[in-house]
């Protein structure tokens, strides 16, 4: 157990290093950080100015400095002239201390403040979606397996197949329109003023995300349960006179949860910051939307911090899933 934890921790650190380096270099290669700092001045050919080929300009109203001086200062301040690797290491040491720097786009605002503001909504949405997904998938998966290959199971199978094929954005748009705007049953935008309003206003987005997940979980659970139900210990439980409900939920369910849990881990990790389309449709001030904006604006510090935190969450959740295996099946515990 302890070695598992240690090796997973080592993996976590390595993955984070890789992910952040990937993001860091991608943003530097694909984007233009200088433009974010000095705007169009980045386009100035300051080498030509220094050679005297182009006249020096001063458009900043700050008479003490020429445009090229401003560019040079910015480069120095943000270490843009340093090699990529060095900048990465510097960034890494800063962020390891929890200092993600300040945003390019919202001047002077610490990135950690921005993310602190945006993460809660995303995490609430993720939890809500998973609660809906599991809340639907577990009973329906159990029911499907209980009635395997009979009419209710077939109907469920068709429904879950259909639910899997509906794109999130289509469902989101339609649910918003029908239940949010026309029927007015649910609020059409996020309202965090109280727990109740949050519960109602996040319902449609959570359902949008949750229905597809539920369908996936239901299918996995049903398949695994059908296999489990052929096991002797299930017969044994029936021979002991246990009720069907008891057998399904107390005996068969737990050993059938492996696939669901695995996918659950991956999906949950992906949902943090991955719900950006739904956040966009329902105007939820979450980290997904923040990241979209940050990426298109080349707001490096925000993107990097977001990616780091999301990747951390992903790795940690999957680590937790590995631990869950142990809870699900004591044999796994014994092995590790």
């Amino acid at each position: 157990m302890r070695s598992l934890v240690l090796s997973r921790l080592a993996q976590l650190v390595l993955v984070l290093l890789a992910v952040t380096f990937l993001a860091f270099s991608a943003m530097n290669v694909l984007g233009d950080p200088l433009f974010n700092i000095v705007g169009p001045l980045a386009e100035l050919d300051c080498d030509a100015v220094s050679r005297g080929e182009i006249a020096s300009t001063s458009s900043s109203l700050d008479a003490t400095r020429t445009d090229c001086e401003i560019v040079a200062e910015a480069k120095a301040e943000f270490r843009l002239d340093e090699p990529l690797m060095k900048r990465y290491v510097l960034w890494l040491t800063d962020s390891a201390r929890g200092d993600f720097g300040t945003s390019f786009a919202s001047e002077g605002v610490p990135v950690s403040d921005i993310l602190k503001e945006k993460f809660p909504a995303s995490i609430k949405l993720m939890i809500y979606a998973e609660v809906i997904a599991l809340g639907l998938a577990i009973p329906l998966g159990v029911y499907g397996a209980y009635r395997a290959n009979r009419r209710p199971d077939r109907i469920l199978s068709v429904v879950s197949f259909g639910a899997l094929a509906i794109p999130n954005f289509a469902l989101g748009v339609v649910l918003l329109y029908v239940f949010g705007l026309k029927a007015g049953i649910f609020p059409s935008s996020y309202d965090s003023s109280s727990f109740r309003t949050e519960l109602t206003s996040l319902f449609l987005p959570a359902l949008t995300l949750g229905s597809g997940l539920a369908a996936g979980y239901q299918r996995l659970l049903r398949t695994d349960l059908v296999t489990t139900l052929q096991e002797d210990f299930v017969h044994m439980a029936r021979a002991k006179g246990m009720t069907d409900r008891h057998i399904m939920f107390r005996h068969a369910l737990r050993p059938s949860l492996f696939s669901v849990i695995t996918v659950f881990g991956i999906q949950t990790g992906a949902l943090i910051g991955g719900a950006l389309v739904v956040e966009q449709i329902y105007l939820i001030p979450g980290v997904g939307r923040e990241l979209v904006t940050a990426v298109v604006r080349d707001d490096f510090p925000v993107v990097l911090a977001g990616v780091t935190i999301i990747a951390t969450a992903f790795v940690v959740i999957n680590f937790a899933v590995d631990l869950l295996y142990g809870w699900l099946d004591p044999r796994v515990r014994a092995k590790s």
């Binding site: 096991e231 002797d232 210990f233 017969h235 044994m236 439980a237 029936r238 021979a239 002991k240 006179g241 246990m242 009720t243 008891h246 107390r250 005996h251 737990r254 050993p255 699900l328 099946d329 004591p330 044999r331 014994a334």
Partner: protein, 324 residues
Amino acid sequence: MTFTLEQGEMLGIVGESGSGKSVTAKALMNLLPRTAEIDGRVRFDGEDVRALAAAGSRHFWGVRMTMVFQDPMTSLNPVKKCGEQIAETLRYHLGHGRVAAMKAATDLLEQVGVPEPGRRVNQYPHQLSGGLRQRVVIAMALACEPDLLIADEPTTAVDVTVQKRILDLLDSLRKERGMSMILITHDLGVARGRCDDVAVMYAGRIVERSSTETLFDRSRHPYTDALVRSIPRIEQPSHARLDPIPGRPPELIDPPVQCAFAPRCRYAQADCLESVPPTEGVGESHEFACHHPANTPRGREALANNVAAGVTAAGLQISYRKTR
């Protein structure tokens, strides 16, 4: 084919794998899939078992009638502690509280000869040896003191050295509690000496049923006969060849209208291929289904004819064997 079992008696059901022993047991336990078609009736203490099932009788299986499966590893839920698995039966059927049920589970483990029962209740099945696991299964089955215990090949999956001890345990518990028991086995030798009655199954039918003594001394059905001959004997020289039954059991799907054993039977005559032999009785206690029963004049004649021809009516090549 019907059979009855009196209180405190032990019935052996013997047959090769695929002969329908386990299906019979599952039918008795109402464990067959819902899609299975079941003809016939099972009466327990005068009550129709399937009617009980349909009525959703809550405390019948597990309380009055229960079963032990062959593989203790798979018949124990790997993710629940042994004690819990025993206790849940007590809690459900007898309404024990959590603590009382655990106490009772520990006692049960002790009764079935599990050492250190207090520690074992908190262990998972994979932490126990095969023999111990089967004892746990037995304890689980006996928890509510059933009237009838069906043991489906309870020893096949455990170590040879443990087999006898498990069987002895079951036997002694049965006697102690005055419980009826059905022992399902492919090994006629296991049934001998323990069962009061034995039923031999072939291709889903009981082909012969009688008291154990009668069966061993005067087996009528050629299959039973062959089985009896195939039991190794202590007095036999160890190098002696066992008497195998040629061929394989038939497919049970869409069988032809004939004696199912005919293709493998050294006694097979033309009539065996034309009709399914009816059940005949030598008195109440001995029944069999064969046109040319072994150890009877009819049978001897048939065998002689076949030996002479070198081939049975079903096309089985035979020769007279010197062994025995």
